[in-house]
């Protein structure tokens, strides 16, 4: 019997088997639901970002109107003067935003663990309270979402079990397994051909969903290589499970034993090994309480506030050597007003040192996780998938780096403008807005 004939025969077997067809359609339905829910999250994020941009624009328009009217700030706050750089920069709305990727519906990854927008001020850092995730139900976060990547990585192998657990097992149960050998010549090839049908069916389904989502989100132009990588990754992943099940089928006796072994392997690869690695990682690297960072923002910051303006001036010049070239850079006695307005640069520098240590500790934990990939293929696939969709830890690390760049830019502008004691007018303010956009 040729492989194609066996495949066609298997197709007949499949569509006549109502539970299998139902399981397949349930999976397809779940995929639609997952993509819809991913799309919803993407839409919600985009809407929030639009509202932030609108708010930013409104704030900017308001400040520009002060310049037009010759006002220096809000009526009830007479100490504010936007014609000096400190207040002008303070009132330049600056946001760092992580735009959701066009492929987000294919997997939300760790998106719900992090914030994706941040208002940047002179006192900001990448571990501020507003860098945390959106308000959400923690028990829902614990259970996670039915997103497409979850269906592909965890449910698809389960579906493959439902579709294939009786291949050859049923024949063994009914005692006509020897007949199969007589009729086909090679039991292994016969099993492989039958298994191939289901592998191809699932592969086709997954690729169709990936391509359709990419087309609907207009993602081919900007994310072509990611889409190809996603298709390749899912192909390899599905084949990995098919090969594993092929060996189980050839070695087992009866459909019950086959189902039992398949489920056991699923549990081992999807639940036990990742869970074990998770537990070991937590023992080796317990959750960080960020005391170094807390110290900078409390004890050490307060110690800085107590230093004399001259000492602070020296520290500021160490961070920005070019300050000596500014109008007040050569003053023998530091201007207390300037120092007070720019000392956030020192705290920022201290924050960066503390945060580097935290990031390094996180990196060590990540290295430990990555080192488990050779025996933990499910976590590998999951993180690779998330990485292609820019929804993993590393993507948010890049976002944090961008936030830090925005903070640095704002503070650097503040420091140099303050030390030059620039006079701010409407044009200067618009220039600030352009720089800090």
């Amino acid at each position: 019997m040729k492989a194609l004939n066996i495949c066609l025969y298997e197709f007949k077997h499949f569509y006549r088997n109502k539970p299998k067809v139902l399981a397949y359609f349930l999976f397809v339905l779940a995929c639609f639901y997952a993509l819809y829910s991913g799309k919803n999250l993407q839409k919600k994020q985009q809407e929030t970002i639009v509202s932030i941009e609108l708010k930013q624009q409104e704030a900017k328009t308001k400040i520009l109107s002060w310049f037009d009217k010759g006002e220096k700030g809000p009526e009830d706050r007479p100490w504010i003067d936007v014609t000096i750089p400190f207040w002008a920069i303070w009132y330049t709305p600056t946001y760092a935003i992580k735009q959701p990727t066009a492929l987000l519906p294919l997997g939300i990854g760790q998106t719900e663990q992090y914030g994706y927008y941040k208002q940047v001020t002179n006192w900001s850092s990448t571990y501020d309270n507003d860098m945390v995730e959106e308000l959400s139900n923690p028990e829902r976060l614990l259970n996670g979402n039915i997103d497409f990547s979850f269906l592909l990585i965890f449910l698809l192998p389960m579906l493959l079990i439902i579709l294939t657990y009786d291949i050859y097992g049923l024949e063994q149960d009914l005692n006509f397994d020897k007949l199969v050998h007589v009729q086909t010549g090679s039991t292994q090839k016969w099993i492989m051909a039958r298994l191939n049908f289901y592998t191809m069916l699932l592969l086709f389904t997954v690729v169709l969903f990936i391509v359709t989502t990419a087309v609907m989100n207009d993602a081919f132009e900007g994310h072509f290589s990611q889409i190809i990588s996603l298709i390749l990754l899912s192909t390899v992943y599905i084949i990995f499970w098919a090969v594993t099940f092929y060996f189980i089928i050839t070695k087992s006796k009866g459909s019950s034993a086959q189902a039992f072994l398949m489920i056991s392997v699923w549990l081992l690869l999807c639940v036990l090994i990742p869970g074990g690695v998770h537990q070991l990682a937590s023992i080796k690297y317990p959750a960080n309480y960020m005391t170094e960072y807390l110290d900078v923002n409390r004890k050490e910051a307060y110690a800085i506030f107590k230093l004399s303006p001259d000492t602070l001036a020296i520290r500021l010049k160490t961070i920005y050597p070019d300050l000596t070239k500014t109008k007040h850079g050569q003053d023998s006695i530091a201007d207390e007003g300037i120092i007070n307005n720019t000392m956030s640069a020192i705290i920022n520098q201290m924050n960066k040192v503390a945060i580097d240590k935290i990031e390094l500790q996180n990196e060590m934990k990540n290295k430990f996780i990555v080192s488990s990939y050779w025996y933990n293929p499910v976590s590998f696939t999951q993180n690779k998938w998330n990485s292609l969709l820019a929804t993993d830890y590393n993507a948010y690390k890049v976002y944090r780096d961008n936030v830090q760049k925005a903070i640095d830019k704002k503070i650097q502008l503040l420091v140099f403008e303050c030390w030059d004691k620039k006079k701010v007018n409407k044009d200067t303010y618009e220039n600030y807005s352009r720089i800090l956009r």
Binding site: S37, Y127, D130, S136, N137, R140, N143, H278, Q279, P286
Partner: protein, 469 residues
């Protein structure tokens, strides 16, 4: 019945695969429970260290203005309960550190889940993972053909001819397999108690008992359902397929689908909307640092009248401290309104999720497991509430010192001494007693019991209705 039960056990122990699997489970449970304790201990040590570090800084504070100290603030660390080693619940996805300071109620930050790449979608390998996913599956594999096997081999007819009752046979099969699950449960509990370095108080022991009881009830549900399906279906394969399908739906699909659905039914605001609404309400009160509004003027008038003086400088107290406290109290009303609404939404979501136990007893089990371990949302909210109550007392103590400690209005340079700061008590979280939470988990308990009763009644009913001869 006793005889059938022992006979079932004998049959199981004669099966080598069963023996190997049981041995594997006992070993796995021992290692996993022990690792859970080690991990919990390490986390507790790290937390204790952080706590001491933060407190030492507070105790070492130089003479400072009390309001400056309110900005300096303190931190509360979300504690790990003893039973966190068995079921971590939501602890990995919620933050660990809460900043306590003047003028604002903060949120927990720095969750463990945000500190690394994603590892496991089903959480750490803790006893709860084995209890919830693996042992039920083991029970299913022991029970799925327990009856069909007898029918296919014709043994059931022989047993009935010998005078045995079908109902008794079925119940014996259910209880013999259920007892295996119970044995594994008790084994893990024993390891937990033996290897824990602390002596369990009554509350923890009660919690442990409730945790084990919840799993015991769930295992009875799983065993009864599997035997029932094995009884109803003609072939072992059909009963196994359906039981596995139910297991997948209950443990993997439904918790996620229902979780999403309840969030859609009672949606939460976005962080930006939440903050905006609070800021708007907050701006209507007294601004402690810039008190120029109507409320502040009224308060000044009242205070001057109370002390029978004409100007703030004549006051024997520091009016700034009173303003700060008034600002704080207004802020507290704002936080109560908005955080209260948020917590109410979360509790409404939880209630809806609990109701899903009617179709999915796994949700009720999950709720009970986290609840008894003290790692569910109610305990999380309880921690936030206790921390916020502490923050209010903490800030009031500082503001009172500012107002009545001996300084005069406008004297921002006045400083309280170190002795005063040392006398401010640290935050201490009191784990609520289990009986204070019964009302919250009543739905889960009731649903689990109803499932058991309905299934046992069904077995009883069908054993009389279905003819096998």
């Amino acid at each position: 019945m006793k005889y059938i039960l022992f006979n079932e056990w004998k049959g199981l122990f004669r099966n080598q695969l069963f023996l190997y699997l049981s041995l594997f489970f006992i070993l796995a449970l021992s290692v996993v429970t022990w690792l859970g304790i080690v991990q919990n201990q390490k986390q507790k040590e790290a937390q204790e260290q952080a706590k001491k570090h933060i407190r030492a800084q507070w105790d070492a504070m130089e003479p400072t203005n009390p309001h400056g100290a309110a900005h300096y603030g303190s931190y509360a660390f979300k504690p790990n309960t003893v039973l966190n080693s068995m079921d971590e619940g939501i602890n990995a996805v919620t933050g660990n550190v809460l900043r306590l300071e003047g003028h604002t109620q903060n949120d927990l930050v720095y969750s463990e889940a945000s500190q690394s790449l994603l590892i496991s979608k089903f959480g750490k390998l803790k006893p709860s993972l084995l209890f919830q996913f693996i042992i039920p599956l083991f029970i299913i594999f022991l029970a799925f053909n327990t009856y069909t096997k007898e029918r296919e081999s014709g043994r059931i007819k022989l047993l009935l001819i010998q005078g045995l009752n079908l109902k008794k046979i079925l119940f014996s099969k259910i209880f013999s397999i259920w007892l295996i699950g119970i044995t594994l449960l008790f084994f893990a509990t024993f390891i937990q108690i033996i290897f824990s370095s602390i002596i369990y108080d009554t509350n923890t022991l009660l919690r442990l008992l409730a945790l084990v009881s919840s799993y015991a009830i769930y295992y009875l549900i799983i065993t009864t359902l599997t035997v029932l399906l094995s009884f109803v279906f003609k072939s072992s394969t059909s009963s196994l397929t359906l039981t596995i399908a139910i297991w997948v739906m209950w443990s993997i699909f439904l918790p996620k689908i229902v979780g999403n659905a309840v969030e859609n039914i009672s949606p939460l605001p976005t962080r930006i909307e939440f903050q905006k609404a609070m800021n708007e309400d907050r701006s209507k009160g007294i601004d402690g640092h810039n008190p120029t509004g109507e409320r502040e003027k009224k308060m000044e008038k009242e205070t001057l009248a109370k002390y029978k003086v004409d100007s703030l400088s004549q006051l024997p107290i520091n009016f700034d401290g009173l303003v700060m406290q008034a600002d704080e109290e207004y802020g507290n009303m704002v936080w109560d309104k908005h955080f209260g609404k948020l917590y109410a939404q979360l509790e409404a979501q939880k209630k809806n999720y609990q109701r899903s136990g009617i179709v999915n007893p796994f949700s009720s089990l999950q709720n009970m497991s986290m609840a008894t371990a003290g790692t569910d949302m109610f305990h999380h909210l309880e921690f936030l509430k206790q921390a916020e109550s502490y923050r209010r007392i903490f800030i009031k103590t500082l503001n009172d010192k500012h107002a009545y400690g001996g300084s005069k209005t406008g004297n921002w340079g006045w400083k309280a001494d170190n002795k005063f700061f040392k006398s401010v008590e640290d935050f201490k979280y009191n784990t609520p007693s289990l009986h204070s939470l019964w009302s919250k988990y009543f739905t889960d308990i009731l649903i689990l019991l109803i499932w058991v009763l309905v299934l046992l009644a069904l077995v009883n009913y069908l054993s009389k209705r279905i003819s096998i001869l």
